[in-house]
Symmetry: C2
Subunit: 210 residues, 2 copies
């Protein structure tokens, strides 16, 4: 079993790497630079070189599960949203298929369930996330899709909810809890084929996701 | 029979409207402003209100064929490429399905056949065009997809080629010939289910497309 984390150096990615190392399942961490590789080595992961806008073949060698938690981020233009969050995700799904991966966990976003009714300011982003999710669902891979609300840097609570809070201001979740949720999905076949909205709440991850 | 032109006020759209009016098939011309509506009336078309980023229901009433030749244009950001060229096209295809349209002509682009090997500078655009094309192909509608090369304002020649010129500088076509090709596709069931690269050349449209 070998887990590949795409976006390992991101804010959710690093917490997921930490968690998997702690669980005794040190993952392959996809990185673009030697500096990121060194960080991942220090954390106990196995760095592998890969670029969502370039070569991915090396990164997918011997991989059986994937977590996609990469994102072009808010500082780049919408062209990168297309090339990384959408096209990059589709290329990663293609590579997962060719590598005989059996399970792909996608960190999607609140709003992807219906870009028409989601926040207008990030509609171009929720469209790209939605289309990447749809591509994964159609791919034939076993998938788990997590659609977290507004991400915060609060400490993990270990508790979530998968129904929508009525109040918009309650539609948030700590990144740490998203990372823990992804780790649980990796080892829980009961989460395959599911799409979960994810917000802070009062159910344990086990109760909410399984 | 009622043909809807989406992007009627664009550079290809206007020439297509002219051609259809000349052929005795005055189309419905989708517009966003009263000024555009007046232009379309003067040209002999029936203006209908519709917005690829807003309401489309009115525009699709009683429509049996659609030509999508809209584009967000080079002056807007890539967010509009997502919202108009990709998501707008997908919404138009959905409306065509619900309106019982039987045929959808998409003006796509050179590069959409493989964004990985196409021009890097417009890769985000060719990705969006490719995904819109794929959505149309999967939709169940009869479709014709035209993938013209670099568009010029040269006068119509009535002649094209559908194989790729080796030299990049030969990969162009007048917008007028693209408009004529679209008009031919509308009345030619032999073009249904086909995807045509389209460049200036020496075959008649009839020879090249049918």
């Amino acid at each position: 079993m070998s887990i590949l984390i795409i976006g390992a150096n991101g804010q959710i990615g690093r917490q997921l790497v930490e968690q998997l190392v702690r669980d005794g399942d040190p993952p392959r961490a996809m990185v673009r630079t030697e500096e990121q590789a060194e960080t991942m080595r220090r954390m106990g992961a196995l760095p592998v070189h890969g670029d969502l806008e370039g070569d991915l073949a090396e990164a997918f060698k011997e991989v059986t599960q994937v977590v996609f938690t990469a994102g072009s981020g808010p500082k780049t233009g919408a062209d990168k949203t297309i090339l990384v969050d959408l096209w990059g995700a589709m290329r990663a799904i293609d590579h997962a298929l060719h590598a005989d991966c059996h399970h792909f966990v996608m960190i999607s976003s609140r709003g992807a369930e219906n870009p028409e009714t989601g926040p207008a300011a990030i509609k171009h982003y929720t469209v790209c996330k939605r289309l990447a999710d749809d591509y994964l669902i159609r791919s034939g891979l076993d998938y788990t899709i997590l659609r977290p609300g507004r991400l915060t840097n609060d400490p993990a609570t270990g508790h979530v909810r998968t129904d929508w809070p009525d109040a918009e201001e309650e539609q948030w979740i700590p990144r740490a809890d998203v990372a823990h949720a992804a780790a649980l999905c990796l080892k829980t076949p009961g989460t395959y084929g599911k799409v979960y909205p994810l917000f802070h709440g009062d159910q344990t991850l086990q109760e909410a996701l399984v």
